[in-house]
């Protein structure tokens, strides 16, 4: 957060002139306590003379609770609960196939989900600066492990090397890379905005391309699209020229066409999408039929059939299981939850003055939302088939924890904090 760091120097110079200095949250300025208690000059006197011990601002928990976007967090927790509920329905066939007891995967989901929630809560309590610093470190780690995937990774017989096998669990570095990248890119964008700042846009673009290339090589077009989309959204919010946006849309279309003609993996899925009548024995066909079977209120708990025929019922097509067993009602609830998280976060970010926070929050919220949208769009054949998990609902250890971290960051960035309105008023800028 370069502006704050730079300002730290200036504050000293102007503190005397103007006690209501714009204060960036989380920065330890020497006169922080004075700001917090600016209305009582007696306290200030006591402080100066050392009668009252200096307090580091408001206690963490109360402040966190006061400034948190509680609605969004509730939505995330409800989604996680729905994920567990659906796991009860969707994962027993998988457990039976792999020779575990029926709710083996639900237990794992609950365990990892617990970790994810803890990660989310911890992250959301941090200051944006700390989040940024940790995220940059995490990003470096994830980037290196993504680059080393071809050497140490495994493909679990699925034809794409995306995972590290740790024995008890597998880790997909790209899941952790995504939130890290959003933060790093936002940081670079914000730095580029500074006078005498580095060419951050170019740097972040090169970084984005490097990641996309690595992901395409795996091949993992889904994650590559997400990263590209996240970067694009950030660039858009950071003030991309309209002409460039149009050109980029063209490039994306062109890239899609190249991928279509060069990658059989990709072409098959697009062909399957363009074909108007869905083959009922494909995954999509099963998913469509499951949604139709479900109707408004579903066929009933445990009565669903699609989970027995879909190999990815617990991940990519979990929405089909939801639609079949619990009906349209639950699906609409899930959609509403995702929509409210994304839209609320974006609306809250509209007020945000700090460019880094705004951009990072936008990137995180949009990738989160778009991932959910693509997953559900595929199940209803609005979008071509693309293996993408439903965040927080689908089964998957590393994706859950990575999702928890990402949403934690998002919650941290959307916390309400002073946007300097008072300072504006005092300085006559409002």
């Amino acid at each position: 957060m370069p502006p704050a760091d730079k300002e730290a120097g200036t504050i000293g110079a102007f503190a005397v002139l103007c006690p209501q200095i714009r204060r960036e949250p989380g920065t330890k300025t020497p006169n922080r306590g004075a700001n917090e208690a600016a209305n009582g000059s007696g306290v200030m006197t006591d402080m100066v003379y050392g009668a009252v011990p200096e307090r580091g601002g408001e206690p963490i928990l109360p402040k966190w609770w006061r400034t948190l976007d509680k609605w969004s967090m509730s939505c995330v927790l409800i989604l996680f609960g729905i994920g567990l509920l659906l796991g009860l329905a969707a994962s027993p066939p998988l457990a039976a196939r792999n020779g575990f007891d029926p709710f083996h995967y639900v237990q794992r989901q609950a365990f990892f989900g617990g970790l994810a929630i803890v990660a989310m809560l911890l992250t959301s309590m941090m200051s944006p600066t700390l989040v940024r610093r940790l995220a940059v470190l995490g990003f470096l780690g994830a980037f290196v492990s993504l680059a080393l995937l071809p050497v140490f990774g495994t493909d679990f017989g699925k034809g794409a090397v995306r995972w590290y096998s740790l024995g008890f669990a597998s880790v997909q570095p790209s899941e952790f890379l995504k939130p890290g990248f959003m933060v790093v890119a936002a940081w670079l964008f914000a730095a580029a905005q500074e006078i005498n700042g580095p060419p951050g846009r170019l740097w972040s673009f090169s970084l984005c391309m490097a990641i996309v290339l690595m992901l395409v090589m795996q091949p993992d077009f889904g994650q590559a699209c997400l990263v590209l989309f996240g970067w694009g959204v950030m660039y858009f919010v950071a003030g991309a020229p309209m002409l460039l946006l149009v050109v980029m849309a063209g490039v994306v279309v062109l890239g899609g066409m190249v991928a279509y003609s060069n990658s059989e993996h990709f072409a098959r899925r697009i062909d399957g999408f363009l074909n108007p009548d869905v083959d009922p024995t494909t995954q999509l066909g099963y998913a469509t039929n499951a949604i139709r079977e479900g109707g408004l209120f579903g066929v009933g708990v445990g009565e669903g059939q699609v989970k027995w025929s879909l190999p990815d019922a617990h991940t990519d097509f979990i929405i089909a299981v939801a639609a079949e067993e619990y009906g349209l009602v639950l699906v609409l609830i899930i959609i509403a939850l995702y929509a409210s998280i994304v839209v609320r976060s974006l609306l809250r970010l509209m007020r945000e003055r700090d460019m880094f926070i705004r951009l990072a929050g936008t990137g995180l919220a949009c990738t989160f939302g778009v991932q959910a949208m693509i997953n559900m769009g595929v199940a209803v054949r609005l979008l071509p088939a693309k293996g993408m998990t439903l965040p927080f609902v689908s089964y998957g250890g590393s994706s859950l924890i990575a999702g928890g971290i990402a949403v934690g960051m998002l919650l941290c960035f959307t916390r309400s904090r002073p946007q300097g309105e008072l300072g504006d008023l005092l300085r006559g800028r409002g």
Binding site: T281, N289, L347, M350, D354, R358
Partner: protein, 595 residues
């Protein structure tokens, strides 16, 4: 907008004069500018974020709406039809011209195992080994107790075997329905039907696909579920085909031939009523194709009448004679000098057994099968017109006969069609064709001079193509062919009451590495009957025949192919509905007596 410079000179100088740090001024100005930029950026981002928010809201609404539409369209697609419908199972039947069954489907079962479901894998393996002696018990036990989760055991089992496996009583042994292709007539018409095999296989069903013959040629039609109750009707006649295969097999054995083929074709419609290639195979259990490196013609899969492209010899002479008559160069009575020596370039043109027929009529050139006589006719015709004529008879392209193998029967013609080729091709050397080509050519002579293309599908009425020779030329050619049988090389071909006409051909077999064998021939008899009003063409070809007659080992067609063809005509003509008839103009052969 007025931009404040970061270091306004006036203030800097002022600060310097007062001894203050001028950098502070720049710092402050940068901060002010950042504040401005931040406000501008936020104003712009506000709008864009709103756009994003609306976009997401709309997109989620669309997904939700689509879910709703999908969820409410339940009744339109019943689940029952959805599963297992991907593999179409009803393959259309194939029937002969009278509607008799040639190929149909038969319901059997496949047998597979899922070891995780097994109660007692070892007992199951032992039981299976009892039911199917060809299975290896040890291997089954290994498979069933190992890590495998799915094992195909048998692709097709009979109902009895199914019951026996069922009686083993292990839940891990499962059956899948399997429709198989059945050829109830066994080997009959094997080369035409070809055979079928399994394509894509699933547990619930397997796709039956044609692998050869009409099964492959018409695979699209036969597989189309819309044609499930519309059988494919061929021009074959089952009884005639059976008689032909029986007689031809006997003939092949008597004549010590290693292979034989026969084509019987309707001269007006081009319908192939029967066609046989021996040795044959059973399409129910189609043998594997021969490994590369072996002569493909040694495999029973080799279809001699379309794939067997050979120089067929003197049977071609009639084309030279017919064309010469057609062009008005000669008529059947024109006298041709067949005496030697005759040289084209440095190649001498000789006669069989170095005979010399002297000056004889065109008809006698055919009757005696004079090489020099036809050679001289061909020289009169010229190479251009000869090529054009043979081309119009379809001798340069694979036959349009509708089995996949026919496309492989590409005739071999000389690259450089000079005078020598003109002469040799007039008596059937230098141009390699299949018996099916020959049948097409003779059909044109038999039906009055119009090309018909051989077909395996039943036709309604005559299917004449373009006219290739005049009615008169065809008529004279038929007369010559009849004379070959009554007083020429094919005298064994006489079948009382059916007025057979035809031409023999005996060609030395080429060696694979060039040159010709001295003692291996392809003997061909190409015939039409009844000669006065031809209905059918029959081409009989024997591969490497020989027979000892009158103390001599004989290979010529007159001794080998002709008697077989005569026997064949005697057997099939009544089946074809032809009554024995007296030839017109032969009234002197019998006397009417009153009873």
């Amino acid at each position: 907008m007025i931009r404040t410079p970061l270091r306004p000179l006036a203030r800097i100088l002022d600060a310097r004069a007062k001894g203050e740090n001028p950098d502070l001024i720049e710092r402050e100005n940068i901060r002010r500018r950042h504040d401005e930029m931040q406000d501008r950026a936020r104003a712009r981002a506000e709008g864009r974020l709103l756009v994003l928010g609306v976009f997401f809201f709309c997109a989620f609404s669309v997904v939700g709406a689509r879910m709703g539409i999908l969820a409410s369209s339940e009744a339109q697609e019943p689940m029952a039809s959805a599963t297992g419908a991907a593999i179409a199972t009803q393959r259309a039947d194939i029937i002969d011209r009278e509607g008799r069954l040639l190929a149909t489907n038969f319901e059997t079962h496949s047998l597979y195992a899922q070891p995780p479901l097994m109660v007692d894998p070892v007992a199951a393996a032992e039981g299976l080994a009892r039911v199917f002696p060809d299975l290896d018990k040890e291997r089954l036990i290994r498979d069933f107790t190992g890590k495998r989760k799915f094992i195909w055991i048998k692709k097709r089992i009979s109902p009895e075997q199914k019951q026996a496996v069922h009686d083993i009583g292990d839940p891990g042994l499962l059956f899948g329905p399997r429709e198989m292709r059945l050829y109830p007539n066994g080997q009959l018409a094997a080369h035409i039907l070809g055979g079928a095999g399994f394509g894509r296989e699933g547990v619930e069903a397997a796709e039956v696909i044609g692998v050869a013959g009409v099964e492959k040629q018409f695979d699209g039609y036969l597989r189309d579920p819309a044609n499930g109750d519309k059988p494919l009707q061929l021009s074959l006649d089952l009884t005639v085909q059976a008689a032909m295969e029986q007689v031809l097999y006997g003939g092949m054995k008597i004549m010590n031939a290693k292979g034989a083929s026969a084509v019987l074709m309707n001269v007006h419609t081009g319908e192939v009523v029967a066609a046989a290639s021996l040795p044959s195979f059973d399409p129910n259990d189609r043998p594997r194709p021969p490994a590369t490196g072996f002569d493909p013609s040694d495999s029973p899969l080799f279809n001699r009448y379309v794939q067997g492209v050979y120089e067929l010899g003197s049977v071609f002479k009639i084309f030279a004679a017919a064309q010469a008559v057609d062009l008005g160069l000669v008529n059947s009575e024109t006298v041709i000098d067949t005496s030697g020596p005759m040289r084209i370039g440095k190649f001498p043109i000789g006669e069989f057994n170095n005979k010399n027929y002297g000056k004889i009529s065109v008809a006698d050139v055919i009757v005696h099968s004079s090489n020099r006589g036809t050679g001289r006719l061909a020289l009169q015709i010229g190479s251009e017109r000869q090529q054009q004529f043979l081309g119009s008879l379809g001798m340069f392209d694979p036959t349009p006969f509708e089995i996949v193998e026919a496309a492989g029967g590409q005739p071999l013609k000389p690259k450089n069609w000079g005078e020598l080729s003109t002469v040799t091709i007039s008596y059937g050397h230098g141009l390699s064709t299949s018996p099916m080509h020959l049948a097409g050519g003779y059909a044109a002579i038999a039906n009055g001079g119009q090309y018909v293309s051989p077909t395996i599908l039943k036709q309604k009425g005559p299917q004449y193509g373009p006219r290739v020779m005049s009615e008169n030329a065809a008529q004279q050619a038929r007369m010559m062919l009849r004379k070959v049988v009554t007083s020429g090389t094919a005298s064994f071909g006489e079948v009382p009451g059916y007025a057979v006409g035809g031409k023999t051909g005996t060609a030395d077999k080429p060696k694979p590495r060039g040159g010709y064998y001295e003692d291996k021939v392809i003997a061909t008899f190409s015939s039409i009957f009844p000669a006065n009003d031809p209905k059918y063409v029959l081409v009989v070809t024997l591969d490497e025949p020989w027979i000892v007659a009158y103390g001599e080992k004989r290979r010529t067609a007159g001794w080998t192919a002709v008697p077989v063809a005569a026997e064949l005509i005697g057997r099939v003509a009544p089946l074809l509905g032809l009554r024995p008839q007296l030839e017109p103009g032969q009234g002197a052969g019998y006397t009417l007596t009153s009873n």
